[in-house]
């Protein structure tokens, strides 16, 4: 690769690349992010390659291997361009048929996506309910680029935003654009990004400044940052270069958790390519602006995502938060002024520069512009990564995109914001999702986790689950965070076992408020959310556990009993599955569980095909 020494050289390269883009022949896109690979994308790639090479189809069809598209459940999936045909859950044996159909401009009808609600086959990705209401300005780019090919990114307008700001030659213009875009940090707190950059640009102490991409993503079940890093690493790199230019920083750091090997690999390749082409290093594209980025791998503690802990970790110390002020802006890594932004925040930057801040601000609502990626999981039909404009209601996300409840169950709440987020009950589902409205109902945006809960979810158990996570992940420095989470967990555990008391609910609430008030960093300050928000909306479930020793959702093991209802067909499966011989029954006679023998392992419930095993 030739090092580009000027903006003209870049434009020439881009023109040449665009000329050679083959739009006449169809392209088969294979999603091979971590999740795609886990469900067998590599075999699909192999099958496709061998078909294309074996039949000498190289100039009849293109193959593009990309990062994540977000519809996890349907992995591995194929997307055909330009027809936009979507094939879910593809098996290696189907690949041949699909490729042949593509060549003949046909569709393999019975491999198309089948809508679980209507049962209809749907051809185009855009028409599938899961995708229909999304606004995929960030995630959507993943399907266009092969993450390890920088030329692919450049063909898709990549590094044009960088080129644009270098042509303008005015860092304050960049800051202005980001400010007018009203972009708020996607890492959780929603701090206005442009404002942060302006502060950094004003910092004079010392010759070097740092900007950091926070890719620690420690929330269990959240992977939006991973999918952007894996699928479009150059967008992060371009965003950071632009940030460096705007704020006068010279050093970039990507702090990424070690558990993301594919993302790290793609980042390393992308950084090398960017350096080779002259987007990083001394005198970028012949300008007098120099900037480079290095990768620092995180130690894997959740709390290392907190910015002051992250900085200490980068310095090689134990990742433990410290008092702010001084804020990173004044005293950051090695005492140098530092700006930390989340992966998704960085990914929005090239888009903002490209569209212009004012145009970008038109998406979303006032004060909450742009889109947000959520990882939508739990008790709904469609799960995966969804990107929606800020201000979309929970109803739309849960029912239109998520497809509503599974089976006969009733959705009762969503939990947003990761382990220290809160629950929003179903009667508040017309709430538009943004930073401020979530805070108002006692939850947080967090990094974008969204778990849908139905009447088979016990709220006490849920709070206990998150508190268990937090008590282990608290750094342990603040007495009230460390002991407070332990004590809250202890009380929740008592209640879920039926040995709690009503006084303990009051104590729990009192403690939760104290922990919120007396801790140093965001982890402790939000650690009470799971307790406070479930108590706020589902107090009756707590009381039920205590007064009637009953778990209404049938989850808390100590309080439930397994029994077999009249749906039983006497098939005998459960009897075979039971490790304790607790089930008796003859042919054609409804089976019975001997509760004195039953150890509540749940095996019978999971094998029964007739929903005949229930808990009460």
């Amino acid at each position: 690769m030739e090092n580009l020494r000027s903006i003209e050289e870049f434009k020439r390269l881009q023109a040449i690349l665009l000329e050679h883009v083959d739009t006449d022949i169809p392209t088969i896109i294979i999603n091979a992010g971590t999740c795609g690979q886990a469900s067998g994308a590599n075999e699909i790639i192999r099958a496709a390659k061998s078909r294309i090479l074996g039949k000498r189809l190289v100039d009849k069809v293109n193959l593009r291997i990309t990062g994540c598209h977000g519809f996890c459940q349907m992995e591995p999936s194929l997307l055909i361009e330009p027809s936009r045909t979507f094939y879910p859950n593809v098996k290696p044996k189907d690949v041949e048929r699909i490729i042949d159909a593509v060549l003949h401009n046909e569709i393999v009808e019975n491999l198309l996506y089948k809508d679980p609600s209507s049962g209809d086959r749907i051809e185009k990705q855009e028409d599938i309910p899961f995708f229909k209401k999304q606004a995929r300005i960030i995630l959507g780019l993943n399907e266009n680029v092969d993450p390890i090919r920088i030329y692919n990114y450049i063909e898709n307008n990549g590094y044009s935003s960088l080129c644009k700001i270098l042509e303008k030659g005015d860092p304050t213009w960049v800051v202005e654009q980001v400010k007018t875009s009203e972009l708020r940090g996607r890492g959780g707190a929603g701090f206005p990004t442009g404002f942060k950059w302006e502060l950094l640009a004003k910092q004079q102490n010392g010759e070097s400044k740092y900007i950091v991409c926070n890719a620690d993503e420690g929330d269990p079940g959240a992977y939006m940052d991973r999918s952007v890093l894996e699928g479009n690493p150059h967008s992060i790199i371009e965003g950071m270069i632009i940030g460096g230019y705007a704020s006068g920083a010279t050093d970039g750091i990507i702090y990424i958790r070690n558990e993301y090997p594919l993302a790290i690999k793609h980042l390393i390749i992308a950084l090398n390519q960017a350096r080779d082409l002259g987007f990083l290093g001394e005198n970028i594209l012949g300008s007098d602006f120099s900037f480079d980025i290095q990768i620092v791998k995180g130690a894997g503690a959740f709390v290392c995502g907190e910015e002051t802990a992250l900085m200490r970790s980068v310095e090689g110390k134990v990742g433990e938060p410290r008092q702010r002020p001084p804020f990173p802006i004044e005293k950051g890594i090695y005492g140098k002024p530092t700006v930390i932004n989340n992966v998704e925040t960085w990914a929005n930057i090239p888009v903002i520069i490209d569209q212009g801040g004012a145009e970008y601000a038109k998406t979303g609502t006032d004060g909450n512009s742009g889109t947000k990626i959520f990882s939508l999981v739990g008790k709904i039909k469609n799960t995966g990564l969804v990107e929606v404009p800020m201000g979309m209601t929970i109803n739309e996300i849960v029912y239109d995109i998520g497809g509503g409840p599974v089976g006969k169950a009733k959705i009762k709440a969503v939990q947003t914001g990761g382990p220290s987020g809160g629950c929003i009950p179903a009667d508040k589902f017309d709430l538009p999702i943004d930073y401020d409205s979530l805070a108002k109902v006692g939850s947080i945006m967090g990094s974008g986790g969204m778990i849908v809960l139905d009447d088979n979810t016990c709220m006490v158990d849920l709070a206990r689950y998150f508190m268990n996570f937090l008590k282990d992940e608290s750094c342990g420095k603040c007495f009230t965070c460390r002991m407070g989470t332990q004590r809250m967990h202890e009380i929740l555990d008592d209640i879920s076992k039926g040995i709690g008391t009503l006084d303990q609910i009051d104590l729990l609430e009192e403690l939760a408020l104290a922990v919120k008030d007396t801790t140093m960093c965001g982890l402790g300050q939000t650690a009470s959310n799971p307790v406070l928000s479930t108590l706020r909306y589902f107090r009756d479930e707590y009381v039920e556990h205590i007064q009637n020793k009953r778990c209404p959702a049938g989850v808390c093991e100590e309080l439930i009993q397994y029994y077999i209802n009249e749906e039983c067909t006497a098939c005998g499966l459960c009897k075979k599955a039971c490790p304790e011989d607790a089930i008796t029954g003859e042919k054609k006679v409804r089976h019975v569980i001997d509760t004195t023998k039953c150890i509540k392992c749940g095996a019978c419930k999971s094998v029964c095909k007739f929903d005949a095993v229930e808990t009460r």
Binding site: R322, Q323, G476, K477, F479, R482, M483, D517, T518
Partner: protein, 225 residues
């Protein structure tokens, strides 16, 4: 100089002063546990919390670590502060009920109940010993390990370490294990209980010999086998 208001009184202090120092300068008492003059503020015990700001933006911070800011309004004994402080002390009682320091705090602030499950630990992880050892004794013999529930204090790999100067500084500052360390001088002991017992720290099952990295122990000269 920075001007701020503490409990309605204006005060001028130098930049870089902490809220705790400024409040004490005015004579407002703030209880502390993990703070000690001469050691870097750490902010672990949270006992020194005060309320800053006004209206819905008011929040609580640890005064021993929070630097003064121009125009800041500070309350050192608001209802919110007192409530939180009592809860912190109650929590402390639930962990280390045997500590004289914590008992005194409880009685001073009127904490008369302990509603959590009772534990008997011999450390609240205030970090005084660690800072004492590192900053005053220049030894760095002990430190924190682990996080969350499994956080603890000790020497690397829990074995006796050569860097320990056997100065006893760590024991001297510890707010929790003081009772044990008066064992050798019954007349100075708080309750004298340990004089009649096998020294608690040698009964390995109940007490880890957390404070006795030294051998023989500087205070009671018991040699461990």
């Amino acid at each position: 100089m920075i001007t701020l208001t503490i409990n309605g009184l204006d005060v001028q202090v130098e930049e870089g002063t902490t809220l705790l120092e400024a409040a004490r300068h005015l004579g407002f008492p703030i209880p502390t546990l993990c703070h000690m003059d001469g050691l870097t503020p750490y902010g672990a015990c949270r006992l020194c919390v005060v309320e800053i700001g006004e209206g819905p933006g008011a929040k609580m911070v640890s005064s021993c670590t929070f630097p003064v800011q121009e125009g800041l309004k500070v309350r050192t004994a608001s209802e919110r502060v007192l409530k939180a402080r009592r809860m912190i002390i109650e929590l402390m009682l639930s962990v280390c009920p045997q500590s004289k320091t914590i008992q005194d705090l409880a009685s001073k602030f009127g904490v008369r109940q302990q509603r959590f499950r009772q534990e008997f630990k011999d450390c609240i992880l205030c970090g005084l010993c660690v800072r004492m050892c590192e900053e005053q004794m220049m030894a760095k013999a002990i430190g924190f390990r682990g996080r969350g529930e499994s956080r603890s204090i000790g020497t690397p790999f829990d074995i006796e370490t050569d860097v320990c100067r056997r100065c006893g500084g760590c024991m001297f500052v510890c707010p929790v294990c003081e009772l044990r360390c008066t064992y050798n001088e019954p007349e100075k002991a708080i309750c004298g209980g340990c004089a009649n017992l096998v020294p608690p720290c040698v009964e390995k099952d109940q007490f880890d010999d957390m404070m006795c990295y030294m051998e023989p122990c500087v205070a009671c000269e018991i040699t461990k086998d």
